[in-house]
């Protein structure tokens, strides 16, 4: 197992390199003078001059990439002109807020998605199944930003139960209960779509597994139906669904862009939207790189979990 | 249509030390990748007009050999000559020219027909692409083909899923016949069929061979089937030839203990089971093949020499045509 993890970690290197390459190429696509584009049209000529030198624009593209990569590896992500502070500081600060939100949402959607999927497969065509199917349909058809607005209207404006925005109350906040109150609505909104997708695929996976020969064997052994479903079938279904959860992590991390904007959550998504509208491209670059890298790591974790469950993958 | 048979003694196909390796090569960092020899040092001839049976169990390399014979795969070493010409090279130069000479019948009759094409489209493909026939000529040829395999002409309009396995296999045979090839490689053509249908197809293959002067290479895991169709038989084990010879000789007096074991294992009505239960049935690790005879670990007659030295394929007993790769061939009537 240790060997497998090590192997996967080594395999991560080219993926991360590819990631930086894509970001680099996207940045290289910027029309016109990159330095001006990055610094904005109000930049002073000396700043443009300095950045041009920093970017090594006099050199060939591969050389530029290596210089840029070298800077990244030293934690040098450049300076945000709109915030006038190092990109890396801003990004890391924001990232912790996103991690809290996305992590909670991911936990919610995995737990509820798996449960709903298994239950609705076991009670196929029953009432539970129909209700789950109905909510799944609503969940995957509603734009998350619209759902967020609706939840604000109902729970914050009309019922006044929960705060409409922010991460902590401005006065007297800052403790865990306060965080949780603020977290609930955005996390649920963010988890809604992913819960739908996961429960749907879990249901399909369960139904497929329940047709397999080894399930017939389990029944022929005289095992109780509970054991057949929750031990034999659910384990196989779980193996099939874990990669889906990995992919959903990407949707949750990306979806944070909307949710953080709607709920004014001080995360990296809201930061990116602002950075794009102010064309603070170094900030965009830094944010994208950090979120993408964390997604890659999460997928690695999903792979490792999957291979602990499935011995056939451990090679 | 049958060529006017020339009294020609040169073989139609000649395989020389054919080898097919999968995997291997080196990884990015120069570490050698594991390689598996699916087929190794196979030298075999196919005479015009005969049926050569190739028999062996799963993993013995018989299907890989069949694909190479049809030009669908190429040997990694050694050569296959078809009418004196190097097959791999001929295929590279002009695949169609080769496909006019050599055709193939697949194991799974349904899977070998494209589910979205009618039988007419399927059978017309070789007529258009291999022979370049005009529409009217094609119609005539289609009727001939359907008649040859005993299918009603109205079946042409149908799709593969409307056919049973036996009918689908007839269509597969008709397709192979379409370009009037000299050689047809039959890869387990009846093993997916029910026994009652299997006999129909075997009899049909026999009739077609007589009628069109075909040469068959017939691959199967079923000894009885191979015996019933073959003039000569090659037994493969773990990628190599264990024994080659006239069908009658091999089945009456096997010169390799593996052939002996196969014969004893085949269930025959009225015959009790003869195989000792201690027999392991395990193949050697393909990534780490033994230095000697691959069958030594299972062989009742194996000694130190068998385990360290690879027995060459050579003539055993009276008949020069009968070759076996065994240091201690079984005696007549001996049981494994």
């Amino acid at each position: 197992m240790g060997g497998y993890i090590l192997k996967r970690l080594i395999a991560l290197v080219p993926v991360l390199l590819g990631l930086t390459l894509i970001v680099f190429l996207i940045m290289a696509m910027i029309p016109g003078d990159p330095a001006t584009a990055i610094l904005g049209s109000y930049a002073t000529p000396e700043n443009v001059e300095r950045l041009n030198r920093q970017l090594g624009l006099d050199r060939s593209l591969p050389e530029q990439y290596l210089v840029w990569l070298g800077n990244l590896l030293q934690g040098e992500f450049g300076r945000s002109y709109s915030l006038n502070r190092p990109v890396i500081d801003e990004v890391l600060e924001r990232f912790s807020a996103t991690l809290i939100l996305a992590g909670t949402a991911l936990l919610l959607c995995s737990v509820f998605g798996l449960l709903a999927g298994i239950v609705s497969a076991v009670r196929q065509f029953g009432w539970t199944d129909r209700i789950v199917t109905f909510f799944v349909l609503i969940g995957i058809s509603t734009p998350s930003f619209f759902l967020g607005l609706l939840l604000i209207l109902v729970f914050a404006v009309n019922l006044k139960l929960l705060p409409a925005s922010g991460m902590y109350a401005i006065y007297g906040g800052g403790d865990l209960p306060d965080l949780l109150r603020h977290l609930l609505l955005p996390a649920v909104t963010l988890a809604a779509v992913a819960t739908g997708v996961i429960s749907r695929l879990t249901r399909t996976a369960m139904l497929e597994v329940l047709r397999q020969d080894f399930i017939r064997t389990a029944r022929a052994k005289g095992l109780s139906e509970r054991r057949v479903v929750y031990r034999h079938a659910a384990k196989s279904a779980l193996v099939a669904v874990i990669p889906v959860i990995g992919i959903q992590a990407g949707f949750v991390l990306g979806g944070a862009v909307y949710i953080e904007t709607v709920f004014q959550w001080p995360g990296i998504g809201a930061m990116l939207v602002k950075a794009i509208s102010t064309r603070d491209l170094l900030l965009v670059q830094g944010g994208v790189l950090v979120v993408a890298a964390s997604y890659v790591l999460f997928n690695l974790a999903a792979d490792v979990v999957q291979s602990t469950l499935d011995p056939r993958l451990r090679r | 249509m049958p060529d006017t048979a020339m009294p020609d003694t040169s073989p139609l196909v000649e395989m020389q030390q054919v080898e097919r390796r999968f995997g291997g090569g080196k990884s990015l960092f120069g570490k050698p990748r594991p390689a598996v020899h699916a087929v190794q040092s196979v030298s075999l001839e196919v005479q015009p007009g005969e049926t050569l049976g190739i028999v062996g169990e799963s993993g013995c390399g018989k299907s890989t050999l069949a694909r190479m014979l049809a030009g669908l795969d190429s040997p990694t070493d050694g050569a296959i000559h078809f009418q004196g010409e190097d097959l791999a090279e001929a295929v590279r130069r002009d695949f169609k020219a080769m496909a006019r000479q050599i055709q193939y019948v697949f194991q799974d009759p349904i899977s070998s027909l494209n589910p979205r094409k009618t039988i007419r489209t399927i059978l017309e493909t070789p007529l258009i692409h291999l022979l370049g026939l005009k529409r009217a000529e094609r119609e005539a040829r289609l009727a001939e083909l359907m008649d040859a395999v005993n299918l009603r002409p109205e079946f042409l309009q149908r799709y593969p899923h409307e056919f049973s396995g036996g009918q689908a296999q007839r269509i597969g045979i008709a397709r192979a016949l379409a370009a009037s090839p000299k050689l047809i490689v039959l890869d387990e053509p009846v093993s997916a069929l029910d026994v009652s249908v299997q006999a129909q197809v075997l009899n049909l293959l026999d009739d077609l061979k007589q009628r069109f002067g075909l040469t068959y290479v017939f691959i199967s895991h079923d000894l009885a089937v191979v015996e019933s169709v073959s003039d000569r038989v090659a037994v493969m084990y773990f990628g190599r030839l264990a024994e080659v010879g006239p069908a009658k000789r091999i089945f009456a007096q096997p010169a390799h203990h593996y052939t002996r074991l196969l014969l004893d294992s085949a269930p025959v009505p009225g015959k009790p089971v003869l195989v000792p239960e201690s027999e392991s049935g395990e193949l050697p690790d393909p990534f780490n093949p033994p230095p000697g005879c691959a069958f030594a670990a299972r062989c009742p007659a194996a000694d130190e020499r068998c385990r360290s030295e690879r027995p060459p394929l050579e003539a055993k007993g009276a008949e020069p045509e009968h070759l076996a790769a065994c240091f201690h061939p079984p005696r007549v009537g001996e049981r494994a």
Partner: protein, 643 residues
């Protein structure tokens, strides 16, 4: 031909789609929305961009403004309709672009394989290493906000999704035999890809499109919502929702109406898309995704239950008039049409037949292992030492399964759970019926593996099924069947998936164990050679019924039923290579379309007029021998035409 008729009866894809109520609902909403969006310019509506500050934030149902007005006093209804048009157009275009390039990459990578595939898929993997929306954001960040840029971004980030899906399907198809066949028929590789493979991939492309177009509409709306897509004055549904956010607290309808419009549009597309998928995906079409219940449904007429007789009391297992049917849509097909079997103490009974004869269904009916849906037992009785299993409770059946009655199945790889070790699965089988501690059960499991001659039994307990060879796996399955000292083992073609030499070992093993353990075996097979190696008696099935039974050697020496005779003669036998095979003409009948009288009559050389009508019963032809034939063969008689 039955195939022909079936085909005519099959409804068209569109009819199937409309049969699905949800999909039909989605389809009609979608068509309505499309029509509205198309004819909007012709309707007597306000100019969607005309501002009217004096009439701002009017509530819905206001005179002249059905859905009210927004913060600039623009008519929401006309804006929704024009926004709908933009959203649909953008979503569809993005889908088509992504589908085209993604499918092309997938097709080429899957078909070329090897290095090309590796290179292309590495690139795709890199793109997929980004959280989806993030990549779109980065692209928009660089290209600048705007609807067209958003469209490109969304299309681009969806290319990997299509490429992956299509590559997977192409890869599977490229290995299919018909691809080699097309090559041998003279088609060039490019022609094979586009005329042989593409038609088979097309449904998958359509399914992927229909299930992603809703998603792409959502995503473009999302970018517009953030202010990165449609720029004023141009508006799609997303940017309208974004505008409405500013006045959410005092005029929520400005946000809610476009939100609902997006929801309605996407939901209708998703419903329709699911319908399309169900129609095009053959796995769903055959109803494969219904969950089989733990035990076959039993729906027998109580009057049809035969009374127990003396013979039944002697037998361990007695099957009387068993009928098992499959429900296919509205039709009910009887795969087993009244089977009688008796399995004596320590006897091995071979049940022989070709595929579709109902032999496996008969065997699986005994312990209720025929999947429901679609299977159900509709008549007869199954007596285990006098106890009617069809009347027993589910709990009782569970106690019998794996205990007194155990099974060995055909394919040992798929029959063992891939994620549990061999030891776990054995221990589980033991502890389901015996109150043993885990340690004791483990010791017992090890003994069982030794019993079936698995070397290194102790170590093999911690092996997973995929780490064992086929023969070893089947030994494990046999060990599992012996775990609780079964009185009856039902073995369903246990050696068919194995190589000849391995088959011989397994047969030897089973033969020895059955004598050592005094077990009765019901052995299902299609091979008379296997039967004669193991079985005391044999029952031959044809078209869902037993046509002949008797002691094995007697039946083999002198079959009474012409079908049995033909079945024996059409198989090549080792050592008789010269013999021309006596093939059976024609095809086995399908059980939903049996001829009257004897089902074998159309293929039988001895058939008379009387064979083609009425019920033909299983009659005793000699002591312990029975045949369902009006003109049974005498000993030594050929199955040729009756004199």
């Amino acid at each position: 031909m039955t195939g022909q008729r079936k085909d005519n009866r099959r409804p068209s894809a569109f009819a199937l789609l409309l049969n699905n109520r949800m999909a039909a609902g989605g389809f009609f909403i979608l068509v309505a929305l499309l029509l509205l969006a198309l004819i909007a310019p012709l309707l007597p509506l306000h100019d969607p961009n005309a501002t009217d500050p004096s009439n701002r934030l009017l509530r819905p149902l206001t005179e002249g403004h059905l859905l009210g007005t927004d913060a600039l006093g623009r008519d929401i209804l006309s804006r929704i309709l024009s926004g709908l048009r933009v959203s649909i157009a953008v979503g569809l275009s993005a889908t088509i672009i992504a589908a085209f390039f993604g499918s092309l990459i997938g097709l080429l990578a899957g078909f070329a394989g090897g290095r090309v595939d590796n290179l292309m898929m590495r690139g795709i993997d890199m793109l997929m290493a980004f959280p989806y929306i993030l990549l779109a954001l980065a692209i928009v960040a660089v290209l600048g906000p705007g609807l067209i840029n958003a469209l490109y971004a969304i299309a681009l980030v969806n290319i990997p999704f299509f490429a992956r899906n299509i590559r997977g399907v192409t890869l599977g198809l490229a290995r299919r035999e018909f691809v080699d066949a097309a090559r041998l028929a003279g088609k060039s590789p490019a022609r094979v890809l586009f005329t042989e493979i593409l038609p088979n991939v097309l449904p998958v492309i359509v399914i992927t499109m229909s299930t992603t177009v809703g998603w792409m509409i959502l995503e473009t709306a999302g970018l517009s919502f953030l202010g990165l897509g449609a720029q004023p004055p141009q508006a799609d549904l997303g940017s309208m929702l974004g505008d409405g956010r500013g006045v959410l607290f005092n005029a929520p309808h400005v946000a809610i109406i476009p939100g609902l419009a997006i929801f309605l549009l996407v939901m209708s597309i998703n419903l329709f898309g699911d319908g399309v998928r169900d129609v095009l995906d053959p796995r769903l079409k055959s109803g494969a995704l219904t969950r089989p219940v733990a035990r076959t449904a039993i729906e027998r007429d109580p009057a049809s239950v035969p009374a127990e007789d003396a013979e039944d009391r002697k037998a361990v297992l007695s099957v009387r008039g068993l009928r098992t049917a499959f429900r296919m849509g509205r039709r009910q097909v009887e795969a087993v049409g009244g089977v009688d079997l008796r399995l004596g103490q320590t006897e091995c009974l071979g049940l022989v037949g070709e595929s579709g004869s109902g032999k496996s269904v008969t065997a699986m009916s005994i312990m209720g292992l025929v999947p429901t849906p679609p299977g159900r037992i509709v008549g007869g009785a199954i007596l285990l030492k006098g106890e009617d299993l069809l009347a027993a409770s589910d709990e009782r059946i569970r106690g019998l399964r794996g205990g007194p009655v155990s099974h060995v199945f055909q394919d040992p790889l798929s029959s063992l759970h891939p994620l549990f070790t061999v030891g776990d699965q054995l221990i589980e089988a033991i502890r389901a019926h015996q109150p043993l501690s885990r340690a004791k059960a483990q010791a017992r499991a090890r003994e069982l593996l030794e019993l079936v001659r698995i070397p290194n039994a102790g170590r093999r307990l911690s092996a997973y099924p995929h780490e064992l060879s086929g023969g070893m796996r089947q030994r494990v399955c046999i060990a599992m069947a012996l775990a609780n000292d079964a009185e009856v083992i039902i073995a369903d073609e246990p050696t068919t998936a194995l190589d000849v030499t391995v088959q011989a070992q397994i047969l030897t093993l089973m033969n020895k164990l059955r004598h050592d353990k005094q077990t009765s075996i019901l052995f299902i097979t299609h091979d008379f050679g296997v039967v004669s190696a193991l079985c005391d008696r044999v029952a031959v099935m044809y078209a869902g019924r037993i046509v002949e039974t008797g002691r094995t050697e007697e039946v083999l020496d002198a079959p009474a039923h012409p079908y049995t005779r033909k079945l024996i003669d059409c198989v090549p036998v080792l050592g008789q290579g010269e013999r021309r095979l006596d093939a059976i003409e024609g095809l086995p009948p399908s059980v939903d379309n049996l001829p009257p009288g004897c089902a074998f009559a159309p293929r039988c050389p001895r058939a008379q007029e009387s064979c083609r009508r009425g019920e033909i019963t299983l009659q005793e032809v000699a002591p312990g021998r029975a045949a369902r034939c009006l003109f049974p063969l005498e000993a030594g008689e050929e199955a040729a035409a009756h004199a």
